[in-house]
């Protein structure tokens, strides 16, 4: 088990190096001069040169990369060109917010998507199945921002049940934190629930046809035991993979929802950084996202490993 995790981590290292090189060079190729962005109204050549010199923008690109990568290894992602805060500090502030949002969204997606998927597979071809599929398709088709705005209008403006925006850390006031996050998490979660439901349904349809499910029935087991213990247990593997992908997407993909609910999260940080050409922040954030993706997939692999006895004996 431990050797398996170590091996997975070893594979992750070259991936990370490639990703870091890619984001670094891509950014240099993109149009727009950070020195110009920083200088603002000052277009004085000496001022620009001073800025370039200060931020080592004149050095060869590989030197710039090595300097940055070396720092990153030591946990130093540079300093925001715009706010002069260390990038790690910015990330440290914003990332937990987005993680909280993502976890809550995934939980909501699980609560809705998995039972719906299991039921619609078991009741394939019935009215329930059709309705569940229509609901899922609607969930996929309705844009997050629209649902978000509608929810704010209904729940916050008209009913006044929940705050429309803002953020409170769960460590300061858990209940208040839940209140502010439940709507954005719901918006993100329902969209994921639709995807999750479709995947659960097709995975379940596959295993429900399996010979061992027929064996389970031939043992006289009740239908619930057959479906949950014998079928769903084997349908979990593709669901785990799917969940990891969805969670990774949430880390970087909650941008619009964060904007609508004015949540000071990771998505907002990226958008602001890109607009102001805040190189150090963009690089740091993208690198951090890549690490997040790799970690999530590692966790998914470990769960996969625990769920699948066949893999355990291969290793």
């Amino acid at each position: 088990m431990l050797s398996y995790i170590l091996r997975r981590l070893a594979i992750a290292i070259p991936t990370l190096i490639l990703v870091s090189m890619f984001i670094f060079t891509l950014q240099k190729i993109l149009p727009g001069d950070p020195a110009l962005a920083l200088a603002g109204e000052e277009r004085d050549a000496a001022a620009l040169e001073f800025i370039r010199e200060k931020y080592k923008l004149n050095d060869p690109i590989y030197e710039q990369y090595l300097a940055w990568a070396g720092g990153a290894l030591k946990g130093d992602l540079g300093i925001s060109l715009r706010t002069n805060q260390p990038v790690t500090e910015l990330i440290g502030q914003k990332l937990p917010v987005t993680i909280q949002l993502a976890v809550m969204a995934i939980i909501i997606a699980f609560i809705i998507g998995i039972p719906m998927g299991v039921l619609s597979a078991v009741k394939k071809g019935t009215v329930f199945d059709y309705i569940a599929n229509i609901v899922a398709l609607s969930g996929l088709s309705i844009p997050n921002f629209w649902l978000g705005i509608m929810l704010i209008l209904l729940v916050s403006v008209n009913l006044g049940w929940l705050p429309a925006s803002g953020y409170v850390s769960p460590f300061i006031d858990p209940l208040r934190s839940l209140e502010t996050m439940i709507m954005p998490a719901f918006v993100l979660g329902t969209a994921l629930a639709a995807t999750l439901m479709r995947h659960t349904r097709s995975a379940m349809l596959g295993v429900l046809r399996a010979d061992y499910v027929r064996t389970a029935r031939s043992k006289g087991l009740g239908e619930t035991v057959v479906v949950i213990k014998h079928a769903f247990r084997n349908a979990l593997l593709p669901i785990v993979t799917m969940t990891a992908l969805l969670f990774g997407e949430l880390l970087a993909g909650a941008v619009l929802t964060e904007q609508i609910f004015t949540i000071p999260g990771f998505g907002k940080l990226i958008v602001d950084a890109v607009f102001t050409r805040d190189y150090a922040v963009v690089q740091g954030v993208v690198l951090c996202t890549a690490v997040g993706y790799l970690l999530i997939n590692l966790v998914a692999d470990i769960v996969y490993f625990l769920l699948n006895p066949r893999m355990r004996s291969v290793l």
């Binding site: 061992y212 027929r214 031939s218 006289g220 247990r233 084997n234 006895p309």
Partner: protein, 339 residues
């Protein structure tokens, strides 16, 4: 329950006029099938693939998905109750308990996620008032009885750690764990290597003798019938065309289809000539001919064969065939049908 079985063998299972169809097809997949099994007896149901033998077995176990399958007529009396009209819950109480089944595909019939010991113990726990520990002990005992070496260690193996033959032994252990009165084996050796086939058949026979369970053996292999069967029912295109003791049917086959099946077995004594085959194909459910369903392939068929369904008629006590030409003349054989 059947204490009078010795003096007057009342059947354990009596299937009468079982008729079932799939909603997608126009004809009946199983058409008026009747047979019975006495306690401790082995009935072989033999026929080509698609003749309805597996569907018959699954319908008795209540394992046919309905829909699309639909039982349109018939009854199957087991322990004095009709299996075909039994409430789901009552059926589940019998399955794996009073009657059990083993399947054709040992490779995929065990759940890959659970240890085999737990899978056997599960069926014991389901039907008996025992503790987990007792159920596990029973699982171990069963693994021993199906001759799995080092059973104690194997108890915690996952299915993928076992070979096909071993997995089929586990399936047998699971099926017999609650001492069923009836075991249905659906082509239990077809997916196995030839050497393993013989071992598994031998094992089933030994266990049957030890436990006194009745056995319905479904097979396409007349060799298996000769090996294990007391009686045999020959199925063709959803109907039983001949039924009788294995000796009667093998020595004196009375339906042209049975005759054809016999001639299809390569024999060591008649080495000359080509292997005999039955010309034509088994009709599909949608293209069932009227009258005798074998008539289009039968060398003895006449116009009258296509007019009406020949009934299964007793030719001698316990030996019946569904052919208007029966009894066939002693020298009748399938030469006219060499492909």
């Amino acid at each position: 329950m059947h204490s009078d079985a010795d003096s007057n063998p009342s059947p354990l299972l009596a299937v009468d006029n079982l008729t079932l169809r799939f909603s997608s097809a126009s004809g009946n997949v199983v058409d008026g099938v009747s047979f019975s099994v006495s306690p401790g007896e082995t009935l072989c149901i033999v026929g080509e693939s698609g003749c309805g033998k597996s569907v018959t077995a699954l319908s008795l176990m209540g394992l046919l998905p309905m829909p699309p399958a639909q039982i349109t007529a018939g009854s199957a009396m087991f322990d004095g109750k009709d299996l075909l009209r039994m409430p789901r819950r009552e059926m589940a109480a019998i399955r794996g308990n009073r009657m059990a089944m083993i399947f054709q595909e040992p490779m995929t019939s065990l759940n890959p996620a659970y240890r085999i010991g737990d899978q056997i113990a599960e069926v014991v726990l389901r039907h008996r008032p025992v503790t987990r520990k007792q159920a596990r002990a029973r699982a171990l005992e069963m693994l021993d009885r199906v001759k799995i070496p080092a059973a104690v260690k194997r108890l915690d193996d996952y299915p993928h750690q076992l070979s096909g033959g071993m997995r089929q032994r586990v399936m047998i252990a699971m099926a017999l764990a609650n001492d069923p009165a009836l075991l249905i084996a659906d082509e239990p050796t077809t997916a196995l290597d030839v050497t393993i086939q013989a071992q598994i058949l031998q094992l089933i026979r030994t266990l049957q003798e030890e436990t006194g369970t009745a056995l319905i053996m479904i097979t396409h292999d007349l060799g298996v019938v000769a090996e294990v069967g007391d009686r045999v029912a020959v199925m063709y295109a959803g109907r039983i065309v001949e039924q009788g003791s294995v000796d009667d049917v093998f020595i004196d086959p009375q339906h042209p289809y049975t005759l054809g099946l016999m001639s299809s077995i390569p024999s060591l004594s008649k080495r000359e000539g080509r292997l005999t085959t039955i010309p034509g194909m088994v009709p599909t459910v949608d293209t069932m001919p009227p009258g005798c369903r074998f008539a289009p392939r039968c060398p003895f068929a006449g116009a009258e064969c296509k007019a009406a369904v020949p009934p299964l008629t007793d030719l001698s006590p316990g030996h019946a065939a569904a052919c208007i030409r029966a009894p066939l003349e002693a020298e009748a054989h399938f030469d006219g049908a060499v492909a």
